[in-house]
Amino acid sequence: MMTQPSVARLIEVIRTQLTETIGPALTDDGPRSALGMIDHLLQTIQTRSEREIDWMVLQTTDIIDLARSAVASGDVSSKVSDAVDAYEANRTGGLAASQVTSDYAHAAAVLSLLLEETVGTSSDTAIEARDLLEREVQWGVDVVGDFVLVAP
């Protein structure tokens, strides 16, 4: 099996071809604009292909650890406990992208409840939940990378 070149590297090759070979041949604004959007999307896919699985596994683990701790200390309502139970019941534990995404989706439901229940407070749970939210939002920004809006 070929593991090299990596997915990220292959995408880079495609982007280079699109920019250097296809781009100059386009004269109409519509296709040029579409090419700009395609190139940006490929850039985001490049970043995601390299780090997304690892990032989601870590985020899922940290969310569930925090929720268990908050439930144990009585900081949060039974809704959070129920959401953790739902996560456990549906957890795949696999490393295929679809499995990690599914596990992460259940963890996101848990984090949403933690944030709602602790908004406006400064408990340890509240601070850690907001830190996890910041990490999630920052990951979204990292995926975007360099960005200049292409006109539709």
């Binding site: 944030l115 709602e116 908004v119 406006g120 979204g140 960005f147 809006l149």
Partner: protein, 344 residues
């Protein structure tokens, strides 16, 4: 529809309204997500007028859906009230004559405020005063006779409730839970600003929708999102757009613009201040992404979607980061002012 077809349809349309005219110079002037706007000349033999045709994109090829017939009614109300708005002349309310639902207004010569500041025609500080004056002109209007369809909430609390609920609804109908949206909605609910009287709200009050003439006059265009609501929605929208499409004339001159707005409207400093307007940057932003985020879910579910929808994931991600940062800044300001009160 090509230019020849459009010219022919426009001539038939105008002729049916006792305005027989030869149409020339049909030219698309603005690109947008929901409308196409053309400028054209109408020569009646006695006079040549320059008019603007604003139409829905054909075949439902839009990312946002608004009602051109309702927009016509709103602009008629504004014209009757003497508001700084181009005169609306006619509407094709069902699209049977011009191909899609459309309205025709007077053309406003000059440039929009975004162009005027980028070109140096107006300084950022002067542009901010135009923003404050235009906003005050809209928000000071008596809303007794606005079209019934743009009246929503009965009172301020209900209006804010509905805006926060719109954030919650946006999240609830997606394919996955979105912690950032859930947090923003909870934060908005817990940090409501000083109430204000509901007024007419433009709904898309960016400086690209403010036209300025050489004599210093201004007019406000594009009324598709007008409604009765909290006037700070417009100022918050202007700040938000300025962040995405510099220069941010309001953000860069916020204290002065707030002062000018308060002078013209009689609003209190407790209601109109930088922190309160930042709250409305977040509160009103659901509408900029509402249908776009639905598009993300549609793609996830296997639906065919325009490339643009997938592309807009990036502006969404950047906006989430900006909104979250605003909540942190406003929390820090609140903590700081509480500490000052305690020490005083």
């Amino acid at each position: 529809m090509d230019a020849v077809q459009l010219k022919s349809r426009l001539e038939s349309f105008l002729g049916a309204r006792d305005y027989p005219a030869e149409v020339s110079g049909v030219e698309q002037i603005v690109g947008g997500f929901s409308q196409i706007t053309y400028k054209f000349h109408a020569n009646t033999g006695d006079v040549v007028e320059t008019l603007v045709l604003r139409s829905d994109r054909p075949g439902g090829a839009t990312l946002t859906l608004t009602d051109r017939d309702l927009e016509y009614q709103v602009i008629k109300f504004l014209n009757d009230a003497g508001a700084p708005v181009p005169l609306v002349r006619w509407a094709d309310r069902d699209g049977s004559e011009l191909g899609t639902r459309s309205l025709i207004s007077d053309f406003v010569p000059g440039s929009n405020l975004l162009q005027a500041t980028r070109s140096g025609q107006l300084s950022s500080a002067d542009a901010a005063l135009v923003v404050a004056e235009a906003a005050a002109a809209i928000h000071n209007l008596d809303t007794t006779h606005v079209p019934q369809q743009i009246r929503g909430a009965a009172d301020w609390e209900s209006y804010i409730d509905a805006q926060i609920q719109a954030w919650r609804d946006l999240e609830a109908r997606q394919v996955e839970r979105m912690p950032v949206v859930r947090y923003l909605a909870a934060w908005l609910d817990a940090n409501r600003p000083e109430p204000m009287e509901l007024t007419l709200v433009h709904g898309e009050f960016g400086i690209a929708n403010l036209m300025v003439s050489d004599d210093g006059g201004f007019s406000v265009i594009d009324w598709e999102y007008a409604h009765v609501g909290d006037p700070r929605m417009d100022l918050g929208w202007c700040l938000q757009r300025g962040g995405q499409e510099p220069p941010n004339v309001l953000g860069d001159n916020l204290i002065v613009a707030c002062e000018r707005y308060r002078e013209l409207t009689g609003a209190s400093e407790a209601a109109i201040n930088p922190a309160a307007l930042s709250y409305f940057v977040i509160l009103g932003s659901w509408r900029a992404f509402d249908q776009i985020v639905d598009g993300f879910s549609a793609i996830s579910m296997g639906a065919n979607a325009p490339l643009l929808t997938a592309y807009l994931i990036s502006p969404w991600s950047l906006s989430c980061s900006a909104w979250l940062q605003l909540t942190k800044d406003l929390d820090a300001m609140k903590t700081s002012s509480s500490q000052m009160e305690v020490s005083a």
